[in-house]
Point group: C2
Chain length 128, copies 2
DNA sequence: CGGGATCCTAAGCGATACTG
DNA sequence: CAGTATCGCTTAGGATCCCG
């Protein structure tokens, strides 16, 4: 595959208030993507996410979910049962985010080895 | 526009070593995307990037470029002239990254207002 | 069960000064 | 011009304990 300058949309703004950076500021943190992807599969309870993600602290799960809810990407539904039960679900907008994320995922899968190789090549070159 | 679960590729891995997170770890920092996009337009000298980006410190420009070079996304060409001149250019792999980044950019442009609206709605709801 | 509140550390990043 | 080196701040985020 080859990508030339003209293949790439030149609509990307950069200097002043760059939209791409906006998304990354929102979703570029350590856990948001993971949560969005999991919720893309199905609705999850708090504890389910907590167990599914492996490594996330309760605190960060709460904070990240709260931010996602705030931005309208996720809905929070608290059931007044005992013990309490809270369901998190992607909104319509949240689901549309899965599309560009998949593109990124595809790229990652395609080039993961190349990056690793480049990295090792580089590290050998500088250490030697 | 509507996105259902079945519209979205379920190939996204999550729990153990998620490729999407790899990319975001690499390019989710404050400046990488900006640099990649700028280099997507044309080769830039160090100082050109420094002026073009507005707000980046010399230190972070150096560090970010070095990381991009290490991962094989950018090439560094130092000309042995005086004063010195160093050119940075996207590699072939670096250019392919512009494609998923554009997808993300498109999404950002499409939903930027929605997010802002959701955020304000939410903030009013919690403050009130 | 689903959080909140608090404390603490490590990383990210900017500012500044110096160099080949 | 294109960096390097050092410092210091600010933030992200983990750990722990508490609570309805």
């Amino acid at each position: 595959m080859s990508v030339t300058h003209t293949d790439v949309p030149m609509t990307l703004k950069v200097t002043d208030d760059c939209p791409v950076r906006d998304v990354l500021d929102r979703v570029g943190d350590k856990w948001s993507v993971l949560i969005v992807v999991l919720l893309g599969r199905r609705t999850h309870r708090f504890g389910e996410l907590h167990r599914a993600i492996e490594g996330i602290s309760q605190r960060m799960l709460t904070l990240t979910l709260r931010a996602l809810v705030r931005d309208g990407l996720v809905t929070r539904t608290a059931h007044a049962t005992v013990p309490p039960r809270v369901d998190y679900e992607l909104t319509e907008m949240g689901r549309t985010l899965l599309v560009p994320l998949s593109a990124l995922d595809e790229w990652a899968n395609a080039h993961r080895d190349d990056i690793r190789a480049a990295r090792e090549r580089h590290d050998r070159g500088t250490t030697a």
